[in-house]
């Protein structure tokens, strides 16, 4: 069998987070955590699932040109930090060839995209990315 370089279980476990931005909300104090964690700052260990909103504002971004071996063919990669309903999330910025045209606090939407794949025969990883609503032309 071909060598599998990307773990399937490691990805599959995170599908609710990668596909739907499923965060956790503390039952006691209401704090929302993304990525999810086991214990709240207030000490409680009881959480409810909570999907982050799919629209928000861009806080900051950069463009990475020196990428890793997995992303060689996808360079350059733009990354941004978005505020989605009060929760800060880090992700790739897509459909944005000219990020310098982005205004501060630009509106972004969460989209579903391919992240990477394990050569021609292995698993395809999907996940969320951030897309400036008005584009970057």
């Amino acid at each position: 069998m071909v060598d599998q370089n990307l773990s399937v279980p490691k990805y599959w476990r995170k599908i609710p987070q990668y596909y739907r931005l499923t965060a956790v909300k503390c039952r006691k104090c209401g704090r929302v955590y993304f990525p999810p964690r086991a214990v709240c700052e207030c000490g409680s260990r009881e959480f409810d699932e909570y999907e982050l909103p799919r629209r928000g504002k861009l806080i900051e971004y950069t463009v990475l040109r020196s990428v890793t071996s997995d992303f060689e063919k996808q360079r350059p990669l733009a990354f941004g930090i978005a505020d989605l309903g009060g929760v800060r999330v880090f992700g790739q910025l897509v459909d944005c060839p000219n990020p310098d045209k982005l205004s501060e606090g630009a509106e972004v939407e969460v989209v579903f995209r391919r992240v990477k794949e394990d050569s021609d025969y292995g698993i395809i990883y999907y996940g969320f990315k951030l897309r400036p609503v008005k584009g970057c032309w």
């Binding site: 900051e60 950069t62 463009v63 040109r65 020196s66 990428v67 800060r88």
Partner: protein, 380 residues
């Protein structure tokens, strides 16, 4: 008799960092371990702490301590591998000091060794990305320099600096490296060189990024100083940590783990002496100075440009050239930093005539994941 330090550095050795296609982990380890032990008078060692970030990844070796110890002919000494990313060195030293304290007496051997150049650059970047959150940052292709770039952007915007101001870090580090026979980059750099270099993660350019290097550095830490030599003691250390997920931090212009570590190590008011900051990227060097309390928030870059941190001043920073000129040997980098300030305190070539009595070393993991800050003194 009361020890005035947590431990004394009775022996040390480094390999000039570089690309060692002809030497592996065991050869580099043996070189520095044996030299350091000899310099310390070959004392009995209670434990060997191996600081390495990449030994499984590029050395394809688990439990590397056993292999290294065997190769160097050191017998019956427990060897513990410490991995904490590019902060492995600092944390290995911290652990060795704790062990010294619990043992009450004796010596520990701390060796940092890493070989990023067993693999090609794209792979090095992939391994560097393991310093970030694997599931939520590296998963999407982020590497530490991307987050450093975000910090640099926000810092420069908040305090109204231009990129040219930040470029000074690289220029000054290269200046220092040019005088250091142990540096990887021994050529001075001009502003034009920095500005013309390729963008790595906007706005950071190639000159803002410390180069990966293979390297090994060793320290012999003892509970009592060597009576026949200048005694350099590690007086104290402090630890700090920040949120591991970068985006959820409150302020992207401060290294909060370093702030916490500096608070923990004790009052640094009025410090004067030599400082070594972990400048994986230029911006990390700059922000570390502020986090250590050596200057006010937002002022480090201005003071750097004014020459405030140069040799001859009250606070002399990265006189060996920092990670920028010496190179980023990942797990070994913290040990190189420690050896650097020890040489500076001792006045060993090329650091003659500094007359510094105190030193501070800041070693950081990844992008402000966690940090350890050490204070050192020449102990008479």
């Amino acid at each position: 008799m009361r020890n005035s330090a947590l431990g004394y550095i009775n022996g040390f050795a480094i390999t000039p960092p570089g690309r060692y296609y002809d030497k592996g982990y065991r050869e580099l380890f043996a070189e520095v371990a044996l030299k350091a032990l000899e310099a310390a008078g070959n004392p009995d060692i209670k434990a060997i702490y191996v600081a390495s970030a990449l030994s499984e990844l590029t050395g394809e070796q688990l439990a590397i301590g056993n292999v290294l110890r065997d190769y160097a002919g050191l017998r019956n000494i427990p060897s513990i591998r410490i991995e904490n990313g590019d902060g492995s060195g600092g944390f290995a030293i911290m652990t060795a000091l704790n062990h010294l304290a619990s043992a009450g007496n004796g010596c520990m051997l701390v060796v940092g060794v890493d070989k990023p150049h067993e693999v090609i650059s794209l792979k090095q970047n992939k391994y560097a990305s393991y310093l970030l959150d694997s599931d939520y940052e590296a998963y999407f292709g982020a590497t530490p320099v991307a987050l450093a770039a975000i910090m640099a952007k926000q810092y420069m915007r908040n305090y109204e600096y231009k990129y040219e101001d930040l470029a000074t870090w690289a220029i000054k580090m290269h200046e220092r490296g040019a005088k250091n026979p142990y540096a990887y980059f021994k050529r001075a750099a001009k502003l034009k060189d920095v500005l013309d270099s390729e963008l790595v993660a906007d706005p950071l350019r190639l000159y803002d990024v410390s180069p990966f290097v293979d390297g090994a550095a060793a320290l012999v830490l003892c509970s009592k100083p060597n009576p026949n030599d200048l005694a350099i003691g590690i007086v104290n250390y402090g630890f700090g940590a920040s949120n591991s997920y970068f985006a959820s931090r409150n302020d992207y212009t401060v290294l909060s783990s370093v702030v916490e570590a500096a608070k923990a190590v004790g009052p640094l008011e009025g410090f004067n002496g030599v400082v070594s900051v972990h400048d994986t990227y230029s911006i990390f060097g700059v922000l570390a100075l502020e986090a250590l309390g050596l200057c006010k928030r937002g002022s480090a870059l201005r003071l750097l440009n004014e020459g405030y941190f140069d040799q001859g001043g009250r606070v002399m920073v990265n006189l060996d050239g920092g990670l920028k000129a010496v190179g980023n040997s990942m797990g070994a980098s913290g040990v190189y930093q420690m050896v650097g300030v020890v040489m500076q305190l001792r006045g060993d070539k090329p650091f003659n005539g500094l007359n510094a009595e105190s030193a501070m070393v800041e070693d950081m993991v990844g992008v402000d994941q966690e940090s350890v800050v050490f204070t050192l003194r020449v102990v008479k």
